[in-house]
Symmetry: C2
Amino acid sequence: MSRAEFEPERRRSDSARAKGRLTFTRMDVIRAGTRLLDTEGVEKLSMRKLANTLGTGSSTLYWHVRDKDELLLLILDETLREVTVPAAGTWDVRLLETLVRCHEALLPRPALVDVLWRAAWELGPETLRVADALVGLVAESGLPDDEVGDSYMALITLLFGFVAGERTSPGNPRYSEARAEGETAGSVPPYPNLMRYAPGAGVQTMARQFRYAVERFITGIKLRVAEAEHERAAGAPRSS
Amino acid sequence: MSRAEFEPERRRSDSARAKGRLTFTRMDVIRAGTRLLDTEGVEKLSMRKLANTLGTGSSTLYWHVRDKDELLLLILDETLREVTVPAAGTWDVRLLETLVRCHEALLPRPALVDVLWRAAWELGPETLRVADALVGLVAESGLPDDEVGDSYMALITLLFGFVAGERTSPGNPRYSEARAEGETAGSVPPYPNLMRYAPGAGVQTMARQFRYAVERFITGIKLRVAEAEHERAAGAPRSS
DNA sequence: ACCTGAACACCGTTCAAGT
DNA sequence: ACCTGAACACCGTTCAAGT
């Protein structure tokens, strides 16, 4: 995998357009891809169908975009452009708020999570901007330096997971089925805990669950900070 | 999506085998699929290639298995069969240990996470057994009943995420690249926090990061339990 | 510089037909 | 009851050729 190209000006076809030729830009491809991703699902976003909505063959797209992965990465970067990081407030509320904004931005396009996971660190500037801000906010907690990366990883894992899992979560499909099954048949194991603690009557939105998860994790960080401070004061003295 | 069929006896071809015909069982298909998944990657596990290793055409597989999704679900269930839940100890260490065992079991086959996420609650008995145990352990924490499901979701999200992300994590590909980039070019934003808190010199294994994440979350749960108890004692309603 | 058509090498799934 | 071959309806990507 070589690097994706994120500079939008590099590939515009103004020159051709000026000459009167009908053509479209790299941004056109990105935008068309985004729209297709939003209206249909992931599985409907193929290079061929995308080319179709633009009125060309799929081979044309490969002039503007190296491959499908790069296209999705570009869509991801465009998606994260809208995420702003709050400037005021304590680190914990800013961190939570930023993550919630990321969650909101990504939720309509869960397919992007797969790319994100595959992409190691081949990310666009907007993605890196948000990532950098998140790492910074985690660092503000006062966590030992060598734990900042781990906590950041955990938080974005929660973020990605709660985006990717938007279909698994709500109380509808199987929780209730498992309960019914357990009550009726004696041959089937009952799974009492699943039955008992199934999501309550109210509608459980992913947003609520995500917020809850991040809140618990952040209090976990706070406790760890206090712990580490106590350790430093007692055991291994480090001059300040 | 109708239910997957998890009963192994239903589909064995002993009768045919008894008659001297050469044939294979549903379990053969599952095992061959597992082996193919382990030796090659996900992308190499196609129904056609799988059939090939068994010496047939792909259409044969559809007698034993409804579709590829069901096959992967069966492989998942087989994978989780090995996960045992420790019987002794406090809830927190048993919970952590169980999650670590799940992580170890799933790590060689990250592809299964995708199925898990798509499968809502159409899961096999082994998967449900482990899920039920995890929910039970979370409940033992003393968390308010209506928060058990949320905490469980958060924990399995961490589990899934740290399995799925096995490629993204280590310090190799881009962290260091981003640092180099930030140092050289003035035109490129530097991402100072990413550069500063990149995974340290030591090898960061997924296992370590996962353990760290779960530990922080569990202490978050403990703090929430104390909080909720205090609230109840004071007669106050729930906090946000 | 940008677009095109045809081709390559794949997929998952179905289905009539065989034994 | 179990297997087969052929076919359907797709994929992503490449590449020589056009303008």
